[in-house]
């Protein structure tokens, strides 16, 4: 029987084909290329499911797969660069998520773009297909260079799609900003990639020959030859150098996953079409950064400093972004900040050793945030592209499907039991807490994450109440445009998933009852080959977490159950408190802007802590003037010297030519003098005197 693994490359190639088709023939196709994308992503989804089943072990004994499929650049006397496929539980789960959401977004786009008679649709669908291609290839990349390559391509697609409405002023500017800010992160990432190749001679994620395994050996056992050679050339210890490498790669992660301080591009990215926001700027591309950390978790575990920094960045971003989400007036802006905040949770989990929790939250978040964005898209269609929540209100009765699915997503986001977000967020906080009890840095990160739960509950339901409840506050809200099946179907699917996907990993229930229902956990533990041969299973990570990273679990009052219940009660209680506050303030027929009461704080929050301002200042207030100074210097000094030399030649030529007087006698005199001088010179040299 053919193995699914041989078809894994097709998961990415199908959307690539659809990219080419949509770009070249999209203009003449029905639905302008959407169908190509739908078929391609549907194909990808089917193969992804097949792959996932194989990884689960239902279809044979081979449960992980690594194959080099394309030699990129051959080196003689040095390492080769290649592209390859690596499938393990983590990547097959991510393939599933990406292809599912891609498919749903393609379907939704039929309603959002085609039904609205947008122009440039082939370009839209081509970019979207290219995005799916890049993201899927990124997910199954077997080495960090390939990951970087597709990471960048994903950035390109993001640029193209944010700037889709290029005839206006704002979208191209936002697109530029998004690419530039993530490029800044990628600069560090690329140094990291190059450094990893230079240090280990390989960029493989998995197996004994991969760089995490070599790094582990270098720290815990005998140092592999090439590594020690390079370390002595750099003059650093293994631990120190790996920390630097890890932090460099983290630069790319922070940029792409919109973590502090490189988060500023994401809210601006909302200038793109809403389905794009759902797919790229919420569910998948932004996840690339977090996924990358999970992908090379074996490497990060080796350096406790990096782990602590990841956790701190995560916790801080979760809180920081949540505070800004509280005052936003536009629907998509609230969602944008909530996205930043939620990715902060994943980073928090990864940094504090909660690998499963992070992947779990990644999964649930992808589902409920895609849902929320698509729901917002549905609202935006209804509101004729007015996104201001203060012009909405009372949409509940007019668009019930949207309302109920949006509510499901909101409950998940706020973390209300039993919706998906509760289970995953609870696990994140629980992991951070138990590992943080013995580690003050992690505890600080946990505290920030916990505080953000309250704010999340508040801003989420402020958004829900303002949008759907109360009285309509504008004419369009009185009579919203209706949406068709192609909007409702993806919403329905995701709405159900948002309510139920949390059940894949109900750790608290397992701990309380002993039922073995932590499926995701078991999934990531993986098979024996995964842990022994590929070294990317949870069983491989756990000892390193404890022994090398020095992150150990400890419990309040020494009891796991007590800690568990306390943590769950705390996060649920805070979330409910947030929801309750939102209900009190905004679930009234005629809500008012309570944010005014915040005074100066509100100004600060509305300006996003002046993060944009200082980054724009760095670009326009520092770099541009510096460039102008360089230009002046270049034109004045360097070119001045060059032109100066030519002026000196011209000037001296001008003077010297005055010897040519035109008077024959002068020439004769010069000749005579010359002859005399020559004779004297010869005389001296020849020794005549």
């Amino acid at each position: 029987m053919v193995s699914a693994f041989e078809f894994v490359p097709a998961i990415a190639v199908l959307p690539l084909v659809s990219f080419v088709v949509a770009l070249t023939f999209g203009k003449w196709m029905p639905k302008k290329g959407a169908l190509a994308g739908i078929f391609a992503t549907a194909g990808s989804l089917l193969i992804s499911i097949w792959t996932a089943l194989t990884v689960a072990g239902f279809l044979g004994s081979e449960t992980a797969y690594h194959e080099e499929i394309w030699t990129f650049a051959t080196g003689i006397g040095t390492f080769d660069l290649h592209l390859g496929v690596f499938v393990d539980p983590l990547s097959s789960l991510m393939l599933l998520i990406v292809s599912l959401i891609s498919l749903l977004v393609f379907v939704f786009s039929l309603g959002y773009m085609n039904d609205e008679d947008e122009t440039g649709l082939p370009r839209y669908y081509a970019s979207l297909s290219l995005f799916s291609f890049s993201m899927l290839a990124f997910v199954f990349a077997d080495n960090i260079l390939m990951a970087f390559m597709f990471f960048e391509l994903v950035g390109l697609c993001s640029f193209l799609l944010i700037g889709f409405w290029f005839r206006e002023d704002a979208p191209p500017s936002a697109a530029k900003k998004a690419f530039l800010v993530t490029r800044f992160g990628d600069f560090f990432f690329l140094i990291g990639v190059v450094g990893i190749f230079a240090t280990f001679g390989t960029g493989l994620f998995a197996t004994e020959a991969g760089f995490p395994a070599m790094a582990e050996q270098a720290i815990t056992g005998e140092m592999p030859g090439p590594v020690s050679e390079f370390l002595s050339a750099v003059g650093m210890g293994a631990q120190q150098w790996f920390t630097i490498l890890g932090l460099l790669v983290l630069g790319g992660v922070v940029g792409k996953s919109a973590q502090f301080p490189l988060h500023t591009w994401l809210p601006d990215a909302m200038e793109g079409p809403t389905p794009v926001s759902a797919l790229i700027h919420a569910a998948t591309m932004v996840a690339a950064g977090v996924y990358l950390v999970a992908r090379m978790y074996g490497f990060y575990l080796l350096t406790p400093t990096t782990m602590a920094i990841i956790a701190l960045i995560g916790g801080f971003t979760a809180l920081f972004a949540a505070t800004m989400g509280v005052v936003k007036q536009e629907l998509k802006q609230v969602l944008a900040y909530s996205t930043i905040s939620q990715y902060g949770y994943m980073m928090l989990a990864l940094g504090s050793g909660g690998y499963v929790a992070a992947v779990f939250h990644l999964t649930t978040h992808a589902v409920f945030k895609a849902l929320l964005f698509l729901g917002a898209g549905s609202v935006i269609i209804a509101m004729h592209h007015n996104e201001n929540m203060w012009d909405m209100g009372g949409l509940k009765e007019k668009m019930p499907v949207t309302y109920w699915t949006f509510l499901s997503g909101s409950l998940a986001l706020a973390g209300i039991v039993p919706f998906a977000g509760f289970w995953s967020k609870d696990e994140v906080l629980y992991e951070a807490l138990i590992h943080g009890l013995g580690n003050p840095v992690l505890l600080v990160a946990w505290a920030m994450g916990l505080l953000a739960v309250f704010l999340t509950g508040f801003y989420t339901f402020r958004m829900v109440f303002l949008t759907f409840h109360g009285e309509p506050r504008s004419d369009t809200a009185e009579d919203p445009e209706s949406v068709r099946w192609n909007v409702k179907l993806p919403l329905g699917i995701l709405g159900v998933l948002a309510a139920t996907i949390g059940f894949i990993n109900m750790v608290p229930i397992k701990k309380l009852t002993g039922l073995k229902i932590d499926f995701l956990h078991k999934w990531l533990v993986g098979s024996e080959t995964l842990n022994a041969e590929f070294l990317t299973g949870l069983e491989h990570y756990e000892p390193i977490l404890k022994n090398v990273a020095g992150i150990e679990a400890s419990y309040i009052a020494g009891s796991e159950i007590t800690t568990l219940l306390l943590s769950a009660a705390l996060s649920l209680g805070l979330a409910l408190a947030g929801v309750g506050l939102a209900y009190r303030l905004y679930a009234v027929p005629e809500p008012v802007e309570h944010t005014k009461k915040l005074g100066g704080l509100r100004t600060l929050l509305m300006h996003n802590y002046y993060q944009d301002e200082y980054q724009v200042w760095l670009a326009e207030g520092v770099t541009l003037p510096l460039a102008r100074v360089a230009d002046t210097f270049d034109q004045g000094i360097i070119d001045g010297v060059v032109n100066g030399i030519s002026s000196v030649s011209l000037f001296s030529g001008d003077r010297v030519r005055r010897i040519q007087t035109g008077v024959v006698s002068n020439y004769a005199a010069l000749l005579t003098i010359g002859l005399a001088l020559l004779l004297i010179a010869f005389g001296i040299v020849g020794g005549w005197f």
Binding site: R657, Q660, G662, V663, V664, S665, A668, T672
Partner: protein, 100 residues
Amino acid sequence: MVPAEYYLLLSAAMFCIGLFGILTRRNALIFLMSVELMLNAANINLVAFSYQWGNLTGQVFSLFTMALAAAEVAIGIGIILVLYRNFADIDVTKPTTMRW
């Protein structure tokens, strides 16, 4: 036999007279004459050495020089005529248009 030094002295003297004429005089005709003097100074040298070494090459060469001098005078006088036609003078310091 008169030693070669005397001839050389004579030739040097003639050369210097010619040179002096070129450097100090303005009249183009005197210019030509001075040039002629210098050429003949060279001729004396050639003939003198030829006589000293008993080699006829120098004398033959001086014949060539005379022929050349004749040609030169022809052209030189032609130039002087043109000069006179254009500047109504044969002062060589007047025509200074061929400069810079």
